[in-house]
């Protein structure tokens, strides 16, 4: 049996944070400048009482309804998040019950950011092709907005909340997912981090607001991103991962019909595209209305490319995720000739 990506759906929170609102908060910044620097016009922000798992639940429900999927047939649930409901229990267990999936269903969370979708596909393929699962839901969701300090425009202009649900099923047919290239470099852990809140360092009550040289400020309880180091990491890693994957798959770059990279920011994506000499028509940029949605960015981009006709039946698509960890991964998927399940 082979793993087959049958359908993708997404769910976004209602509230919109647009560049006009951000520009009104930050002196010297205009909506046009924010767009020029990020390629993002607006982001969706989760409500105060809305968890990432609430968004994941909605995405999964939409997928189940649209695909007329019998929840009883789902035998594995993978949930990728860095904003879980609890320290414990596992949010995937809570979602299994909420979604009405059978108690015979396996479920686990995995904590990855921008590389998460690639790892999810890798786990799904392994579970299905080793005979451990037949019908698998891969959910991704995060609410990074809750990790950001309002005084830190470097991250507030980029990140948006969102969730996706991908249905992966076993089919007797040629390989449609893989091969995979993975990578990890924990030396970069401190460059994209929420320092407190885990067991290493508890949340600091009334933490001091610390300004940096660029006019941004945050506390130790907030997400910190060293943009320059992350960009450096990306330039060192992504082109190599692309090359390794092409070699592993035994194909030329020209054989790839579409490239979907983690939607980090459009400046970085444009730079990578030119560096790798990928034609613009073969390269998906889908972040204008949602921003950087972390592990949901690749499936959201796939869904948008499908809706806009950029992703066509039978296309060979390269997916590359990279970011927090550092962690990265790349794979190829052959988009099914018939997308209905």
């Amino acid at each position: 049996m082979k793993a087959f990506v049958a359908a993708i759906r997404s769910a976004l929170p209602e509230a919109v944070l647009d560049n006009e609102q951000l520009a009104s908060e930050y002196e010297g910044w205009s909506a046009a400048k924010i767009y020029a620097k990020t390629g993002i016009r607006s982001r969706r922000i989760a409500a105060r009482d809305e968890c990432a798992s609430d968004l994941a639940f909605r995405a999964a429900q939409t997928l189940i309804a649209d695909e007329r999927l019998d929840p009883a047939s789902v035998d594995f649930l993978l949930y990728c998040t860095q904003t879980p409901d609890y320290i414990l229990p596992t949010t995937a267990c809570v979602l299994q019950h909420r979604l009405g999936l059978p108690v015979s269903c396996g479920a686990l969370d995995f904590n990855l950011g921008c590389s998460g979708y690639i790892y999810g596909l890798g786990l799904a393929k392994a579970l299905i092709e080793s005979g451990q699962a037949l019908t698998l839901l891969l959910l991704t969701a995060d609410t990074y907005s809750k990790l950001l300090n309002p005084a830190d425009k470097s991250v507030r202009t980029l990140f948006g909340d969102g969730a996706t649900a991908t249905l992966i099923v076993a089919r007797e047919q040629e390989t449609l997912v893989g091969p995979f290239v993975y990578g990890t470099d924990g030396a970069g852990a401190e460059n994209l981090i929420v320092p407190t809140g885990g067991r290493r360092r508890p949340v600091v009550a009334q933490a001091e607001l610390l300004p940096d040289d660029s006019g941004n400020a945050r506390t130790v309880n907030d997400l910190y991103m060293n943009g320059a180091e992350i960009f450096n990491f990306t330039l060192r890693t992504v082109p190599t991962a692309v090359e390794q994957l092409l070699v592993k798959a035994g194909i030329a770059q020209e054989a790839v019909d579409l490239f979907v990279f983690h939607q980090a920011n459009s400046f970085m994506l444009d730079h990578l595209r030119r560096k790798l000499r990928i034609p613009a028509a073969k390269f998906v940029i889908a972040m204008e209305q949602v921003g950087n949605t972390v592990s949901s960015s690749i499936p959201i981009a796939l869904q948008q490319a499908l809706e806009q006709g950029q992703l066509t039946p039978g296309a060979l698509v390269m997916l590359v995720g990279f970011g927090v960890g550092y962690s990265w991964g790349a794979t190829l998927i052959r988009w099914p000739a018939t997308s209905s399940f």
Partner: protein
């Protein structure tokens, strides 16, 4: 240096090598990212964020590009 002026949207001739980065209008974390892109695209050098953070002047910054600069290269002060 002229390319950097372009990236920072400064008029040509604004920047000179001895200038402290802290005094350059528009120099911030985003500009550091633009500089990394420029260095990669024009001279094929991937500069680290830490190296940029340690640079005090424009000359320090340009010295990170090693000997791969175009004839415009100013003398390094570091």
């Amino acid at each position: 240096m002229r390319a950097l002026e372009g990236q920072l949207e400064l008029p040509e001739g604004t920047l000179n090598g001895n200038q402290a980065l802290a005094d350059v209008e528009g120099w911030d974390s985003l500009a550091a990212v633009l500089f990394i892109a420029l260095a990669d695209e024009q001279v094929g050098v991937i500069v680290s964020g830490d190296q940029i953070a340690k640079s005090k002047t424009l000359d320090d910054l340009l010295s990170l590009l090693g000997d791969k600069l175009t004839p415009e290269r100013p003398r390094s002060t570091s």
